[in-house]
Amino acid sequence: MAKKKKGFSVFINGIINENPTFRMLLGMCPSLAVTTMAKNGLGMGAAATFVLVGSNFIISLIRNIVPDKVRIPAYITVIATFTTIVQMLLAVLLPELNKQLGIYIPLIVVNCIIFARAEMFAQKNGPILSILDALGMGAGFTIAITIIGSVREILGSGTWMGYPVTVNLFSPATFFILPAGGFMIMGFLVALFNKLANRKKNDNTIEHQDACAVGCPGCSNAAGGGDVK
């Protein structure tokens, strides 16, 4: 019972509390570069999830055999293997998507989400939990970049998943397809996600703030005090 619960919380952790894109700000490169369309976000998320599950599983199996000093090269080899599999599969099954994602598929090898999970989770936990963690992180990443892709596609191209949405409402603003628009949408979504995710925690932090308020006048880190020179 307890183990089951832990598995579930490991899975959910990747989607909300430690969402790689919105909370940890990992994997920014694909999150900004390929999210001009919702479909690309979904495809990128799925590809990364596949590599993440595969590498987390294998790494958690070999974690006790691989010497600590050479663990990074070993992980890279494992991750590169799965990335190559994904790239070959995409080239055959979805050549169009493969062309759109371009260089960002091979770049999954150095995706920091996958590295972070290998280093922080798979190295310390068993294969079942590692798979659940990979699924949660992959789902969190996929959801996040699909949302970014959806917002950018609707505002910037007037379509969603390739279907026209805003044809008669307003003409789309190309700005949101461009990198600057990507950064802006990203910032807004991170702020929104953190506000929603932090709402529960606010009840607990009040106590802490009260305790701090006493020392504020003398506190050198108080707002505005840091810049005076």
Binding site: S171, P172, T174, F175
Partner: protein, 336 residues
């Protein structure tokens, strides 16, 4: 604030300037260019200006309300931003796009970064750049001015009606701006036409005379110093003369000064207090940078105009310039 006698630590003698008074002066200085724009482009331009200013003030009020900050629409800075934005738009731009531009300027560039004095670039210019990359075709649809002063004068002299003033409705056809004519190698309009505003262009940028009157008012009132406008336009004129495509030292210096948004940008937007350097030395570097970038954009890129991007880039560089030109403390060590 109205009391002249302040019981407080020094300084005891205070200047009467407030944000509100400065902004009011800027609005007064912009009036000639605004009226010229309305005269040349008709009621459509007046509507565009009115809606953009109204939307800017409205967004300022709403965003302060939502962000739970004290209300600042009384300082008139939102009016200035809205007016400057409208003067930088083509007269036929759909109204809703102008409202989106006002939202971008006020909410995203100004209030989300902390309000007046905290914006990292000029809000009106950032909104113009946003609209330009978003709605490229609508943002480069220029129209011919309705009223032509030089044609009217010619009629008065010759006593005939040539029909130059009649029949021109605002959205008749697209019309080239002086800079796009120059880029495409056509015959440019005369300097007098450009000085008076008889060319295509944004609502407020066409009439050089009106902008110069407003700019001189600001300099005389002490709201801006002469450094940025003079060095900026001087750099553009010099570099346009030197780096002419037909050969060195043969360029249209005066032409590049009068065409496009250079004067409007140099007098009213590059001089924004928040986004220009604080020291004199820094101001000179900043104005030189604006001028060089403008001429590089105009002569060596696909875009006909480069004033807004040049000023935006130098806005971003302003904190670095300020750090570079920070005055040494009196009696302090020689090293920085």
């Amino acid at each position: 604030m109205d009391k002249r006698l302040n019981v407080s630590s020094s300084p005891h003698i205070r200047h009467g300037a407030t944000t509100q008074k400065i902004m009011l002066n800027v609005i007064i200085a912009l009036l000639p260019a605004t009226l010229a724009g309305i005269y040349f482009f008709g009621a459509r331009a007046a509507l565009l200006i009115f809606v953009t200013v109204l939307a800017s003030v409205g967004f300022e009020y709403l965003s302060r309300l939502v962000l739970k900050r004290n209300n600042t629409i009384g300082d008139l800075s939102a009016v200035v931003t809205g007016l400057l934005l409208a003067l930088n738009l083509p007269p036929t731009l759909p109204i809703w796009m102008a409202v989106v531009g006002a939202f971008f300027a006020i909410v995203i560039v100004k209030q989300l970064f902390g309000g007046l004095g905290y914006n990292f670039v000029n809000p009106a210019l950032a909104a113009r750049a946003f609209l330009l990359v978003s709605f490229g075709s609508d943002m480069s649809k220029w129209t011919e001015p309705i009223n032509r002063i030089t044609a009217l004068a010619a009629e008065a002299v010759s006593g005939t009606t040539s029909g130059a003033t009649s029949g021109a409705t605002v959205d008749v056809s697209t019309y080239a701006t002086p800079l796009s004519i120059l880029k495409d190698g056509g015959e440019p309009p005369s300097l007098l036409d450009m000085f008076l505003g008889q060319t295509g262009g944004s609502v407020g940028e066409v009439c050089a005379l009106a902008i110069i009157i407003g700019g001189l008012y600001l300099i005389i009132k002490g709201v801006i110093s002469w450094h940025i406008p003079v060095i900026y336009t001087g750099t553009v004129a010099l570099m346009a003369w030197v780096l002419a495509p037909e050969g060195m030292f043969t360029g249209y210096a005066l032409y590049h000064v009068l065409a496009g948004g250079l004067l409007l940008g140099a007098f009213f937007m590059a001089t924004d207090y928040t986004t220009s350097p604080m020291t004199k030395k820094g101001t000179v570097i900043y104005a030189l940078g604006c001028g060089l970038l403008t001429i590089v954009f105009r002569l060596y890129t696909g875009m006909p105009e480069g004033v807004s991007y040049a000023i935006l880039l130098m806005n971003v560089a302003t904190p670095l310039i300020d750090r570079l030109t920070r005055p040494r403390r009196f009696g302090g060590a020689t090293h920085v």
